[in-house]
């Protein structure tokens, strides 16, 4: 392990922030205050926090629907996230879209579309732009294991590898796609087997160990930056909530959840932080309190934000003038 205290504390902070924010999303959902669906990364926060933290400011992420940590690390504020969920004008999509469908080119985030795996070819295209222009920027993208069954996954990885593009593919393998278990999704045991079809180097990491994700991502990003092309990183984890907050997930064996509960990424990080002497209970408590406060003001911000007015629906179908792009 070669992680510094400040790096680890950064990771830990974002794990807590992500957890706290999504717990609030769950609460708001149960209270009927979120009108659309609500997907969380509960128990899987280490993946998005880990990979996003290993990026540089001008890199790009093309996330999927369990990447809340990545949004936060890239600078989307909890207030914006909740505004988005509540359909407020202050959310990144101004109410046009809901939940995790947030994007912002200034912060290097491609918005997710519901259609799974659609973001993967798009990620390769950003990487292609960097390659054509000779920039050392890279792209990180993520998909569920279910999403890897779609054609766009195949076409994206193939193209990325043929052209050695600076893009790193993460896979959040949480063992279910909605109710569908892995063995009905694919005949291979590890998703990483898929990478062989493209001569893309593959790795498996413990998706509940934020440090492993972070360090593995760093190495892969380095490779990509140096022109060595894509890497595929399977992050083993478990979806601890239902598919969306409406889903009781009865189809998941309770024992499986019990077992994974012990591997909770936050507990996991705390154990390691203590062991390394980087932090202890009082620090955790302090961060917890800080995060809670942030969430409170985020809720306030979101709730006080105005809803858009009906006719705003008509705005923005077409671009008129160029917006600023990170080039």
């Amino acid at each position: 392990m070669e992680i510094s205290q400040s790096e680890f504390l950064h990771l830990y902070y974002y794990l807590r922030l992500t957890r706290a924010l999504e717990e609030r999303v769950t609460t708001l959902y149960r209270q009927g205050r979120i009108v659309g669906g609500a997907y969380t990364s509960h128990g899987m926060e280490a993946i998005s926090v880990g990979y996003a933290s290993a990026l540089q400011a001008d890199d790009i992420i093309a996330p999927f629907h369990r990447d809340m940590g990545a949004f936060l690390v890239r600078g989307i504020t909890p207030g914006e996230v909740l505004a988005q969920y509540l359909g407020k004008r202050t959310g990144p999509t101004k109410g046009k879209d809901g939940n995790v469908h947030m994007g912002d080119l200034k912060r290097g985030i491609f918005a997710f579309v519901s259609h799974l795996a659609d973001n993967l070819p798009v990620a390769t295209g950003a990487a292609l732009a960097f390659k054509i222009r000779g920039e050392s920027r890279i792209v990180a993208t993520n998909t569920g294991e279910g999403g890897t069954s779609r054609g766009d996954f195949h076409e994206a990885l193939n193209f990325a590898s043929v052209r050695r593009l600076p893009v790193v593919f993460f896979c959040n393998n949480n063992q279910y796609a909605y109710s569908t278990p892995l063995h009905h999704q694919m005949a291979i045991k590890d998703v990483v087997e898929r990478a062989k079809a493209y001569a893309i180097p593959g790795e498996i990491v413990d998706g509940n160990d934020v440090v492993s994700v972070y360090l593995t991502a760093q190495r892969a990003f380095q490779r990509a930056r140096e022109g060595e092309g894509p890497t595929f990183i399977e992050c083993k984890t478990m979806r601890m909530h239902g598919h969306s907050e409406h889903d009781s997930a009865k189809y998941v064996p309770r024992e499986l959840l019990e077992e994974w509960k012990k591997k909770d990424p936050i507990l996991n990080a705390e154990r390691q932080l203590k062991k390394l002497g980087y932090a202890d209970e009082p620090d955790f408590h302090e961060i917890h309190m800080r995060v809670e406060k942030e969430i409170e003001s985020a809720v306030e911000f979101a709730e006080q934000s105005p809803l858009p007015e009906g006719p705003e629906a008509l705005e923005g179908v077409f671009a008129a003038n160029p917006v600023e792009v990170l080039i």
């Binding site: 109410g95 259609h115 629906a313």
Partner: protein, 330 residues
């Protein structure tokens, strides 16, 4: 019937389940494919309990592969099976577009191979699903020769059209409106029935203005008709039920009777099905028209998420009332 059997009301969603269940039990060629339709019973629980009853192979959970699944259903259909594919949301049909338009739609024309395939597409807005869980995708397929399209507005039609679709020898896209799933119900006949594909139905007779519509908008039109009745405006509501092939006779007969027409759909306006209907009227009922054709449809934007935006987006009863008053005064 036992004496205790009180005729009970069946929701639109239950009607769909019943149709599937009945067709599966009377025709072993019928089987279901889709994501999470097995033990989970489907995202909307249309197939709840089906796998227990019919087994894993007739209620087949698939990988997350719309194109692959529709393609497979086409292959099975050509081998004499009667697959019914569930799109988890109609929106994801874009991922299977190629198989539908190039393979399913063209096979019979090209080489006589029947593709008795049904694709169930839970569609439409009003549930704050946003741009990717609310779409009305019917117009894309309306423009694709070789496909049949149905879009029931009542539980009766939902059941009867699904049974007809399953028994049809052609690919049928079955658009079931999510908003109606649990919001409408009615008592259904106990005996077997189908609603023939290709027949519109006049859901309300009227002499002044024809509203040509389908899907959830039928209820909007009926509500408007009710409200306008008090003003002495007598609206006829034509429910297309089948979008392709269009029942142009019923449309034209109604407009010839009333001389005034509102075409109403939830789908966005430009290039929507309403354009075709207006065109047919402008071509074939020109002399019967006493006023300009009016279309009411969603504006040309993706379906927005936030309630005020979505509310603005969706055509509403008041839009129909306003249009009807204008036409009445014309």
């Amino acid at each position: 019937m036992t004496t205790s059997a009180i005729a009970h009301e069946v929701t639109y969603l239950e009607a769909i389940s019943q149709a599937l269940d009945e067709e599966m039990s009377q025709d072993e060629r019928v089987f279901l494919m889709g994501q999470d339709i097995g033990p989970y019973g489907g995202a909307f629980r249309v197939t709840e309990g089906f796998q227990d009853k019919y087994g894993e192979w007739r209620v087949l959970d698939t990988p997350l592969s719309e194109s692959g699944i529709v393609g497979a259903a086409i292959g099975a259909a050509m081998m004499g099976m009667r697959p019914v594919v569930e799109m988890q949301f109609a929106d994801f049909i874009s991922c299977a577009f190629d198989q539908i338009t190039e393979m399913a739609a063209k096979n019979h024309y090209r080489w006589g191979a029947e593709v008795p395939l049904v694709i169930r597409a839970p569609y439409g807005g009003g549930t704050h699903g946003g741009p990717f869980h609310s779409v009305c995708p019917e117009a894309w397929f309306f423009h694709t020769p070789g496909l049949k399209l149905v879009a029931p507005s009542t539980a009766y039609d939902a059941k009867g059209l699904l049974k007809a679709a399953i028994r049809d020898h052609n690919p049928v896209l079955y658009f079931e409106h999510k908003f109606l799933y649990r919001r409408i119900k009615e008592v259904l006949p106990t005996e077997d029935f189908v609603v023939p594909i290709g027949e519109a139905e006049i859901k309300r007779e009227g002499g002044d203005i024809s509203v040509i519509t389908y899907g959830a908008m039928v209820h909007v039109a009926l509500d408007a008709a009710e409200a306008l009745d008090q003003e002495g405006i007598d609206m006829e509501v034509v429910d297309l039920r089948t979008l392709s092939p269009l029942d142009t006779d019923t449309i034209k007969d109604s407009v010839r009777k009333t001389g005034k027409v509102i075409i109403l759909h939830e789908d966005t306006k430009t290039g929507g099905i309403g354009g075709e209907i207006a065109a047919i009227l402008a071509e074939e009922c020109f002399n019967a028209l006493d006023a300009p054709v009016m279309r009411i449809a969603a504006p040309d934007i993706p379906v927005p998420y936030s309630p005020p935006l979505e509310d603005f987006f969706l055509p509403k009863m008041n839009d129909v009332i306003t249009a009807a008053r204008q036409l009445a005064a014309y």
